[in-house]
Symmetry: C2
Subunit: 336 residues, 2 copies
């Protein structure tokens, strides 16, 4: 199992990426093929005392970097020589089994579509973050790759998400729900009503109907299907509200000496609570619908999150879900 | 100032509505006209020792109630004799200055549109909840009345929300932002791009551009403009995530004897925190765009929330914003 890693994507590249790759190589039994500037990688490795580990990794040398400010489409044009584009091309050419990057999500989606290509029959590649809920986690699909969606795309997000949650995240018989403004079947706009009918008629998933946003943080479904506009709003609001409440709580604990004392008592538990609500803990988001496994590592990932993400990337590649999606989508294609 | 109140809307009707009305009459100097079953009101008042107060209120007798399970459109058809419909008709006929109900929001929007009628030039009536943010509050407009929106409607939501925040909530020069998947102008779908251009060109509001969901709980804008589908998802997710974090915190505080001790120290501050994140504290949501003031009281409102809501209803009626909206919308109509 060889994972191609964009060594220059993310807020803490290349150092934390390199550290995470070294840990992954040691702990997960994977081979690493880095894309990025060889000289800069060697010098970073020397500083981190990782030269020996780097010597066990392959490097695809390229000097350019695609930044967060670059347009997503630049991955196939202006930044075709970037570490992200070069890594994606290497995956497409079979130089590795999967590709992971902590760089620009939009560019990764475009690259997965145009360089790696979609699974035959898949309408659109999606961005599918794993988010914490009250207990455990759920997948939001699509979390922002497609701001304009048609009903068939929502159906496919459900099929793809279900396969991932089952085979990679170990959820037996995952429940798929459609994010909507009410639980009754007639709720929502035309897109929701048509998508509901398609999802309900799909034999390969366990569809539980419309789910309301209020219930999603509790346990409404294992896969929450949304168009990319709504999904992205939800993803970011989820993060914002949780952060705001946590920040307020911090304010309470710093308010007085007595409160600080109380804080010291519950410190460990509160830290665990914060961790349980932090979506960075889940390492990232698979890009679903590409014909080979592409994984988005969180942009702010440090070494241990990079390693966790590479574990998920490995599991994604080993799971056989791309073949499963191809079969499920191919079957649906005949009837659509 | 006479406020017409739906005595049979909401989870705790008629008791808590009656109590809230009695408080409002005493503290806010408003007259109350109740719509609902006279006998049931008299018996509830007797039990609550409020018979004297009830004697100072007028009653529009009607025996039907429109429930949460009724279709919104039933307010003009099957449930035209309900306390909500009768109250709305009384407002339309000038029997009072404003109408407030804790009943079915969808029906209230339909009733405001068809019974009270829209302000001339207003495309759609909207549901505009006031939500807590890190410090203070903001308005979400539309929070769910219109699942399908056109750009001109989003423009009007901005204009109406700005007028309300200025004149009723006392925000000087309120900032209006468009909820979108990114802050740059080119972000989002066609609806967002066209709405952005209209909002930017509108001289009567202080438009601050696109706002990302992540920043909304902090201080992105005083009025967050959204289509009703996205707005409703945001409204309910906001509530759900805050509740989930609070519930988790409760779990921490009950975990051990020592934790319980710590909890007792910060109890008052945590209660205040919870209150500051509880959108029930703001009493409800104005229905915007109706030609007379219609106000949605939270469905779960108890007496003090009912009273707060009636204060906002009174302020809405006294603010002159309906005339202001008519002027602003009329002016825009000429150029649209």
């Amino acid at each position: 199992m060889k994972i191609i890693v964009d060594a220059f994507g993310g807020d803490h590249a290349p150092e934390e990426i390199l550290l995470g790759c070294a840990q992954a190589m040691e702990e997960l039994g994977v081979e690493i093929l880095l894309s990025g500037d060889q000289k800069r990688l060697e010098s970073a490795a020397a500083k981190l005392n990782l030269s020996e580990q780097l010597a066990h990794m392959e490097i695809l040398h390229c000097s350019e970097v695609l930044t967060m400010e670059d347009e997503p489409a630049s991955v196939v044009k202006e930044k075709a020589g970037s570490s992200m584009a070069v890594g994606l091309k290497a995956l497409a050419e079979g130089k590795g089994d999967a590709f992971a990057s902590a760089g620009n999500s939009g560019a990764l989606v475009v690259g997965a579509t145009t360089i790696v290509k979609r699974i035959r029959g898949v309408r659109r590649v999606s961005f599918a973050p794993i988010l914490p809920k009250f207990e455990g986690f759920f997948m939001l699909n699509d979390g922002g790759a497609n701001v304009d969606c048609r009903p068939e795309m929502l159906l496919q997000f459900g099929i793809m998400g279900s396969a991932y949650m089952k085979k990679v995240m170990g959820i037996e018989n995952p429940r798929v729900g459609l994010a909507n403004v009410g639980s009754e079947d007639h709720k929502g706009d035309e897109l929701r009503q048509e998508a509901l009918a398609l999802l309900r008629a799909c034999p390969s998933i366990r569809f539980v109907g419309n789910v309301e946003a209020r219930d999603i943080p509790y346990d409404a479904a294992d896969v929450v299907v949304a168009d990319g506009f709504t999904g992205n709003m939800m993803l970011k609001l989820y993060e914002g509200v949780a952060m705001a409440v946590m920040d307020k709580m911090k304010g309470v604990f710093q308010k007085s000496l007595l409160n600080k004392l109380a804080a010291s008592v519950v410190y460990g538990d509160m830290k665990a609570l914060k961790k349980s609500m932090d979506y960075n803990e889940y390492g990232g988001a698979p890009i679903m619908g590409a014909s080979k496994p592409v994984f988005k590592i969180h942009g702010s990932a440090k070494a241990s999150t990079v390693k966790n993400a590479l574990r998920l990337t490995r599991d994604y590649a080993q799971s056989g879900i791309i073949e499963e999606i191809a079969r499920a989508v191919g079957k649906k294609e005949e009837t659509l």
